[in-house]
């Protein structure tokens, strides 16, 4: 068990994220199970209900008519109507914004992963004078989220002529995504045993060859975690697109949701449908890779 405290623990967690999360029954838990069990389930159900009910309300609201919502705001759809969702799915505005969100999220994720992996490899496995300073610089970036820097950042983007250009969102997102990536990946890459690198060197691989043949495959779990965080972060980003993208054709979905809800402020049902469809991709993406995120967060805490 003591081996789990080190960085090697992280690799194992990353490879098999579920294994350590299901304990073999804590002794103190087993003994108390008789009377605590129903209570635990009750609290768990209550907690889940509080977390999920508002989301379900928004989704269900999209299946109602405005008349239904006005007469009885809290009720379930009766009858269920699909017109709101169909209307949103037929609109070119939605799909245009959807496409913009996908482009921005994919490009940001690729950028964050590629640049982050390269710099993390250097910080984890090379020796040079400025290494400590460089790591601290990236780590300090965690303290300064995008919102705080948004005013001067916008000026930089504007001076580069990237206003109303998706690149004006993508490149700053890559920059602000790097600190978290470095924090997660450096301990991960450091945990790859030196013996593997030495064996690769004896077999004639250069350090770059070692990077491509050994490090890349071994770091897949960490990369997946970082990618999901980057993708969801980009998908949900609001303040940067708010500053940089002014014309409706360039809007990403968060801007679209806001524009739609003020444009159709009287058509509540349609707003609910639009909102549900906008959150769907992030939810699907998350539920597919849920284990990786939970495993990765554990790594981040320990690193």
């Amino acid at each position: 068990m003591s081996a789990t405290a080190g960085a090697g623990y992280w690799v194992r967690r990353g490879v098999d994220p579920d294994a350590p999360l299901e304990p073999a029954g804590r002794p103190h838990g087993r003994q108390r199970q008789k009377w605590t069990q129903p209570f635990v389930y009750f609290v768990a159900l209550l907690f889940i209900g509080v977390c999920v009910a508002p989301v379900l309300y928004v989704v269900a609201g999209g299946f109602r008519t405005n008349a239904q919502i006005t007469t009885s705001p809290a009720a379930l759809p009766h009858p269920w109507v699909t017109g709101n969702y169909a209307g949103v799915l037929r609109s070119t505005t939605f799909w245009g914004e959807f496409a913009n969100s996908v482009i921005v999220a994919l490009a940001s994720t690729v950028g964050i992963v590629v640049l982050g992996l390269m710099v993390s490899f250097v910080l984890a496995r090379y020796d040079f004078r400025l290494k400590g300073a460089m790591y601290s610089l990236f780590a300090a970036g965690l303290m300064f989220p995008l919102v705080i820097a948004i005013t001067p950042l916008y000026i930089v983007v504007k001076d580069l002529g990237l206003v109303d250009n998706l690149l004006g969102v993508i490149v700053p997102q890559i920059a602000f995504g790097l600190p978290m990536t470095v924090i997660i990946l450096v301990p991960f890459l450091r945990a790859i045993p030196n013996e593997i690198e030495e064996a690769a060197a004896i077999d004639g691989a250069s350090r770059l060859g070692f990077f491509f043949r050994m490090v890349l495959p071994l770091s897949v779990p960490g990369v997946v975690t970082v990618s999901i965080l980057a993708f969801i972060g980009s998908w949900n980003n609001y303040v940067l697109p708010l500053y940089v993208l002014n014309s409706q054709a360039d809007f990403t979905l968060p801007l679209g949701v806001q524009a739609f809800s003020s444009q159709y402020s009287t058509d509540t049902a349609k707003v609910l449908a639009f909102t549900s469809l906008a959150m769907l991709p992030a939810l699907v993406f998350f539920s597919i890779f849920e284990r990786r995120i939970v495993g990765g967060l554990t790594g981040a805490v320990k690193g």
């Binding site: 928004v58 009885s72 390269m118 000026i155 930089v156 920059a175 303040v239 805490v301």
Partner: protein, 311 residues
């Protein structure tokens, strides 16, 4: 890092330097250009009255900073931001620890529970804000629900009543972010070795003694890192308030934050000099809070696990 001998001879120092430059160059340049440089730029523009076009010429010295620090509106948003920071810790911390302790037992469907409590965290602030503002309208779903369940006397103007609005905001914040806290705490609990619990039990410790003497101290590092993330998040809170209340209503409802003030006074008023100065003030406040926190709280994590247990 050990450098395998054979390789040093073959590649030499110049080649290693080239590799370091090639691999770390792109990330470092992007980071310096879009994270570090804007902060430096803000410090420069903060000394000017400037509307964002051409080079700034109207040097006003420290006047922008004097205006910020004497503006009652700024003192108000500062109070809100710090109130949100403290109350988020006070509300979410104990609740998250309690829920994590409870959910850490062997229950069926743990992985489903973990996914579902994480759902609010994954959904964007814009969606959360839009959904909640519809539900919390005075003729919205919450009041309707209260009316129909015989609790009509509890109906309220959740969003516009200045006495209530900040508590509504705190409730929404807690709803959105507590899943993240619980998942972190659960991950922290998993890393405590089982042997400690077994040993304590053999020594005759009760359930509560075990939680107080073993679980909580060993969960300390996780709690402190969560608290740090929560503090930084609170100080930069923007999206939720901007979506639900907007830059102007948030002022009268008493929910405006520092970032809202910056956007309203800077971008929306096209005062980029003043906006930059606000950014610098926010930057310094966050830096000071972060440094104080690291100096007095996180530093303990650097000491050994033995001193840890005695706190």
């Amino acid at each position: 890092m050990s450098n395998p001998l054979g390789r040093v001879r073959r590649s030499g120092r110049g080649r290693v330097r080239l590799e370091i430059a090639l691999l770390s160059g792109p990330a470092t340049i992007v980071f310096l250009a879009f994270v570090v440089f804007p902060v430096v730029l803000a410090a420069y523009y903060g000394f000017y009255r400037w509307h964002g076009y051409g080079a700034p010429t109207d040097w006003v010295g420290l006047n922008n900073y004097r205006l910020i620090l004497t503006d009652p509106a700024f003192r108000q948003v500062l109070r809100h931001s710090f109130m949100i920071m403290v109350l988020s810790l006070v509300i979410q911390g104990p609740l998250a620890i309690a829920l994590a302790l409870l959910l850490n037992q062997k229950v069926r469907g743990r992985s489903v529970i973990r996914v579902l409590i994480f759902v609010p965290y994954v959904i964007s602030e814009v969606v959360v804000g839009t959904g909640w503002s519809l539900m919390l309208q005075s003729n919205g779903a919450l009041n309707d629900l209260l009316r129909h369940s015989g609790l009509g006397f509890l109906q309220a103007d959740w969003l516009s009543d200045p006495k209530l609005a900040i508590w509504t905001l705190l409730a929404i914040i807690s709803w959105k972010y507590i899943g993240f806290a619980v998942i972190l705490m659960l991950a922290g609990l998993q890393s405590i070795p089982d042997e400690l619990f077994e040993a304590a039990q053999i020594d005759g410790a009760s359930y509560w003694q075990i939680q107080r003497r073993i679980t909580l101290p060993l969960l300390g590092p996780t709690i402190r890192i969560w608290a740090f993330l929560s503090i930084i998040g609170s100080l930069q809170l923007f999206d939720l308030v901007y979506i639900i209340w907007g830059p102007y209503v948030s002022g009268t409802a008493g929910t405006s934050t520092m970032a809202i003030y910056m956007v309203a006074q800077g971008r929306n008023a096209a005062n980029y000099g003043y906006g930059s100065a606000i950014a610098v003030v926010m930057f310094l406040i966050t830096l000071i809070v972060a440094l104080i926190y690291q100096r007095f709280v996180l530093r303990r994590d650097l000491r050994g696990a033995v001193t840890e247990g005695r706190t």
